[in-house]
Amino acid sequence: MPVELLNVIEVMLNGLMAGIMYSLVALGFVLIYKASGIFNYAQGVMALFAALTLVGFQTGQVPFAHLINVIFGTHIEYWSDGLNTFVAIILTIIVMVILAYLVERFLLRHLVNTEPIILFMATIGLAYFMEGLGDLMWGANIKALNVGIPSGGSFWWEDVTKTWAPAEADYYGMYIDVLDVWAAVIAILLVVSLTLFSQYTKTGRALRAVADDHQAALTLGISLRTIWVIVWSIAGFVALVAGIMWGSKSGVQFSLSLIALKALPVLILGGFTSIPGAIIGGLIIGVGEKLFEYWIGPLIGGATENWFAYVLALVFLMFRPQGLFGEKIIERV
């Protein structure tokens, strides 16, 4: 194979990996949107919050240490040498469930039957609140996250691909991060288990019933509030997975919450209600932006990844407002 083609394949592979990461965040959005019609802007911050909490438990940080020290003049910071990763993950999941309950109790319950756009803005408020809370609890410095997933370039893959190029070419093989491959595997597992859950469990069926028609579900004795807590808990779990992946890759820091913004165009492409849509949308955007940057980027100054996804979504919206997998909307009066 010519080197040029190999380069393109490498770009596409990296795009696919990035796309899976986007899909992972988008998945959380789709879950909440399907069950409650809420477009949860805070999903990205939830990922940040989950990752911060996980690191906090892992390293044995005292929550709100900074604040306590300032108020009481103490100098506490750590209460132990930290917890086993597995225990820390379990504790973080518990925190996310508590958070889901609090969100339902103090926010959603009061916003039943309001317009979607108001709910959307409320979740922006929630995002700000949680960002402040996360920073206040665990500190805003960049933290390394390591849960034992291997990372770094794969030498095996480099060696394999090296042989694909013509012998005389100066080609060193393709770079692929092992972490990304793991992320892909985990994402696939997550999607499969979520699908099984919603198809074959009682809770899953109730969830789909609520998604279909709130009123009808209520008349059948399904508790909307319980369902919401469950859905937000699952979304919190998905956020944790996304947070672990992104955090392991580039450290736990504020920019983690911005992945929510990247997930938005993914949703536009895939449709807000379709889990396969979220996956495929993520892949299209991941590959698309990497290829665009590779081919067009150098001509116009680079860093096109900042906007490519949005402009793609915008163009797409003009022609198919309901997304790839959404149903056509017939308006009535």
Binding site: L111, M121, I124, G125, L136, G302, T304, W307, P321
Partner: protein, 358 residues
């Protein structure tokens, strides 16, 4: 008892349609404007100018603009930061290309240019609604900021990639650049804001304003009774972007003096302005001012008390402020979607009846 409308009869439709139908309200507003124009310039100093008055004026202008689009026409935009950047870069290019051009005209023209860009990015609103549109406006936010970063023509090929406001005078007084006296920059911004606030009020109470609100409240019915959606939405985008562009030009030329797009016009600015109109009141001119003032003063106040008074570290206070702002947004959306303006209106209703509420 003292605040009432009885005895304040209207005998013509003209009198009935005025902005402040109550005599007392009119007096208060006139007094407030007179105070702002005649007294404040003599009391102002550098601190008040830079950390309170100018920010309040600039962000009020931006909030006015977004309120026209979101509060009146119901189209949510997250591209405010990007459009402010357009206004800023337009004013920079205009004033460096034509140094003789009056700064007032430069800023108004910058608004005009932003309006055209706004119409361009408003075109998708004809096909998409709600938060789909909000996401589409993000495209303008990120694309515009990227554009001003990457195309050297916009920053006149300066080595730092920054734009710097040159010194300009109006009637012989310096109003931009580092040597401008606080009272001059303040009066310049105040004049712009007052004039454009009156214009906004006029636009929103007449034919065009009603067409915006009709689209907001029920777009299909609006079209069926004769409001062309294209004209209504695009005019809202144009007028809104004009205001936001003027705000961006003021922000850069008068307040910042130097700007770099990612830092000055990022997505956080878009959210800030959105928060201002939520807290101040969607669909209210006065609300834009209240919201902007509130969100500018709150951090200043908290910083002064907690950092200055109690000696807390600034980053801690910054996190607290984030939480408070987020909490307030949720609170207002739940309790009072019409924001502080509505709370004020309710207080007035009560005052009107006081002390005999029954």
């Amino acid at each position: 008892m003292f605040y009432r409308e009885s005895g304040d009869f209207k005998t013509s439709y003209r009198a009935d349609q005025q902005t402040f139908p109550l005599k007392l309200d009119r007096w208060v507003v006139w007094l407030f404007i007179a105070f702002a124009f005649l007294v404040v310039p003599f009391l102002i100093n550098d601190y008040w100018e830079k950390s309170v008055l100018l920010p309040v004026l600039v962000w009020s202008m931006a909030a006015l603009g977004l309120n026209i689009l979101t509060g009146y026409c119901g189209q949510v935009s997250l591209g405010t930061g990007g459009f402010m950047a357009v206004g800023a870069y337009a004013s920079y290019k205009l004033t460096t290309a034509m140094p003789e051009l009056n700064l007032f005209i430069v800023i108004i023209l910058s608004g005009g240019i932003t309006a055209m860009v706004g119409v361009l990015f408003g075109l998708p609103s004809l096909r998409i609604k709600g938060f789909y549109l909000a996401v589409a406006t993000l495209a303008s936010q990120f694309f515009l900021v990227w554009l001003f970063n990457k195309v050297p023509w916009f920053y006149n090929y300066s080595a730092s990639g920054q734009i710097t406001a040159p010194e300009r005078t109006i009637l012989g007084v310096i109003v931009s650049g580092p040597n401008a006296p606080p009272w001059a920059t303040y009066l310049f911004c105040l004049t712009l804001v007052v004039i454009l606030a009156i214009v906004a009020r006029n636009l929103t109470r007449g034919r065009i304003g009603r067409s915006w609100m009709a689209i907001r409240d029920m777009d299909i019915a609006a079209e069926i009774i004769g409001v062309p959606p294209l004209a209504a939405k695009l005019s809202a985008f144009a007028v809104s972007s004009f205001y936001v562009g003027v705000a961006g030009a003021m922000f850069f030329m008068i307040y910042l003096g130097a700007a770099e797009p990612t830092e000055a016009f990022g997505i956080d600015k878009s959210f800030l302005v959105l928060f201002m109109i939520i807290i101040g009141g969607l669909g209210s001119i006065v609300g834009s001012f209240i919201g902007a003032t509130f969100l500018i003063l709150l951090p200043v106040l908290l910083k002064n008390i907690l950092v200055g008074g109690f000696g807390w570290p600034t980053d801690l206070v910054a996190h607290l402020i984030l939480m408070i702002i987020g909490g307030l947004i949720m609170f207002f959306l739940i309790v009072e979607p019409h924001g502080l303006t509505q709370l004020w209106r309710i207080t007035k209703e009560k005052l009107r009846l006081w002390p005999f509420p029954h």
